[in-house]
């Protein structure tokens, strides 16, 4: 098979206070896949995400992105390849205007002038926020800020888009708009969530992370349909939702 976009081998990590958050995670994500990373609160999902672009370095094991090992020397290239959308858009949007914020990443990659302009505009158009380019981010609605946050990493033309709990705090309409945007993108996606219907809607494949290890990996419908597995990892479907009867687009 081809070189995986994300290749994690035996990744283990303990926080400085001694808390062991990851106990040896193996995960491969291939080009063009959309994979959901499921797990209850505290499972280590965010910790894992921070390993994908070298914010955290594994105590044991290794991470590679399209064959490039995540090391100190490769950080800038790794961060171009892996675009992370963080949980709280207020953490991600820190510049005075939407345009400046979206330009921040590509500028760090050395882009300037018309090429930069084009990247910014394309990214904003991809999330339907081009008309807000000159607004300060803190004057946008939460759903709009989440979309701009997606644009800030799209502008770096990443090979894989990683979203940490993207549907949290969104109203149903914003949630659906974001799903439409994610489906329209031609990019590998790792969707970190405990919103199970969202995972089923967007990702053919799911991985369960529980207590710092991968507990299951397979087709989303099979995983959500396995009641014993779900129960064992504190994952619950919303009331009345049956994955066997959910229609998929």
């Amino acid at each position: 098979m081809s070189v995986p976009v994300l290749d994690l081998q035996g990744v283990a990590f303990a926080y400085p206070d001694g808390h062991q958050a990851l106990h040896g995670v193996d995960l491969h994500v291939h080009q063009g896949e959309r994979v959901a990373l499921l797990g209850p609160n505290g499972a280590g999902k965010t910790t894992l995400v921070l390993h994908l672009n070298g914010i955290l370095m594994p105590g044991l094991g290794s991470v590679s992105v399209s064959g490039l090992p995540v090391t100190k020397e490769n950080l800038l290239e790794v961060r171009r390849r892996v675009g992370i959308v963080f949980q709280d858009p207020d953490d991600q949007l820190f510049m005075g205007t939407v345009r400046e914020d979206v330009a921040f990443g590509p500028k760090n990659l050395g882009l300037r002038g018309p090429e930069l302009e084009r990247r910014v505009l394309e990214a904003l158009e991809a999330v339907g926020m081009a008309e807000y380019a000159d607004r300060p981010p803190h004057h946008l609605s939460f759903g709009q800020r989440r979309r701009v946050a997606v644009a800030t990493v799209l502008a770096m033309q990443p090979e894989v888009l990683v979203l940490d709990e993207p549907s949290s705090n969104l109203d149903p309409a914003s949630r659906r708009e974001l799903a439409d945007i994610l489906r329209s993108l031609d990019v590998t996606v790792l969707l970190v969530t405990h919103d199970l219907p969202y995972a089923l809607e967007l990702c053919p494949r799911s991985v369960i992370l529980s207590d710092g290890v991968v507990a299951a990996d397979g087709p989303t419908a099979d995983i959500l349909g396995d009641e014993a597995l779900m129960k064992a990892h504190r994952l619950e479907l919303p009331f009345g939702f049956d994955p066997r009867f959910a229609s998929r687009p």
């Binding site: 914010i55 800038l76 207020d90 953490d91 991600q92 510049m95 990443g105 500028k107 760090n108 607004r135």
Partner: protein, 222 residues
């Protein structure tokens, strides 16, 4: 969330004063303040002249005087201090309404009040007629070190976020029966201030992570 335009001190408009480049206004403000401070406090007609000038500028800017008046409350601590001066200062005394007041103190209070008021009014007028972003760009054009401009930019950006957080904590406290009137409960306020500090600090760290994730290397790209 705030209004679609600018910040809480900004009053949207298109007057001549609004359109004047920010760095010109900044230099004018500093020059005005220095002049006011350097003016001897017993040149009464000159102060009247300064005041008329500001009134004319307010008129040009179309910012309602009540809008500025409401925001003048920041001056209150100085007013209180100035009002105390005639009672505590020493030297020759004068009789005013049956009270024996220090002459030096009276003059000192007048000087503090008039200079403070002129300065606050002029600054408010600048804030009311200039978008925060333009102000930062103006500072940059005046060769303010970019790092300082950046820090001020972050401050403006996160002011709303932090005040929002502060308001939510306040609502959560009150909802559980807290009353700021009761001195026995004041330690709670100190603790919430501590929590707010830690939250803001942690947010700072998260923002930094998000910046690193987009290739930030410690220098703002130009």
């Amino acid at each position: 969330m705030g209004a679609p335009h600018g910040h809480k001190l900004h009053f949207h408009g298109h007057s001549w004063l609004h359109r004047l480049p920010a760095h010109v206004k900044l230099v004018a403000l500093v020059a005005f303040m220095l002049t006011v401070v350097a003016t001897p406090r017993d040149w009464y007609p000159v102060f009247a002249g300064y005041f008329l000038m500001l009134v004319a500028l307010v008129a040009i800017s179309h910012v309602p005087p009540t809008y500025l008046a409401k925001r003048m409350v920041v001056e209150v601590p100085f007013v209180v201090f100035a009002a105390l001066l005639p009672f505590v200062a020493t030297g020759p005394q004068v009789e005013v309404l049956g009270l024996s007041l220090s002459e030096q103190g009276l003059l000192g209070a007048w000087g503090l009040l008039v200079k403070g008021t002129l300065g606050v009014l002029a600054s408010l007028l600048l804030a009311a007629t200039t978008e925060p972003g333009a102000l930062l760009a103006g500072l940059e054009r005046l060769r303010m070190p970019p790092l300082l401009v950046q820090i001020m930019g972050f401050m403006i950006r996160y002011l709303d976020v932090v005040t929002d957080e502060l308001r939510r904590m306040h609502v959560a406290r009150e909802s559980r029966g807290f009353s700021a009137r009761d001195p026995r409960q004041w330690p709670v306020i100190a603790k919430s201030a501590g929590v707010l500090f830690i939250r803001s600090y942690e947010r700072g760290e998260r923002v930094h992570l998000a910046m690193l994730s987009r290739g930030y290397d410690g220098r703002m790209p130009r």
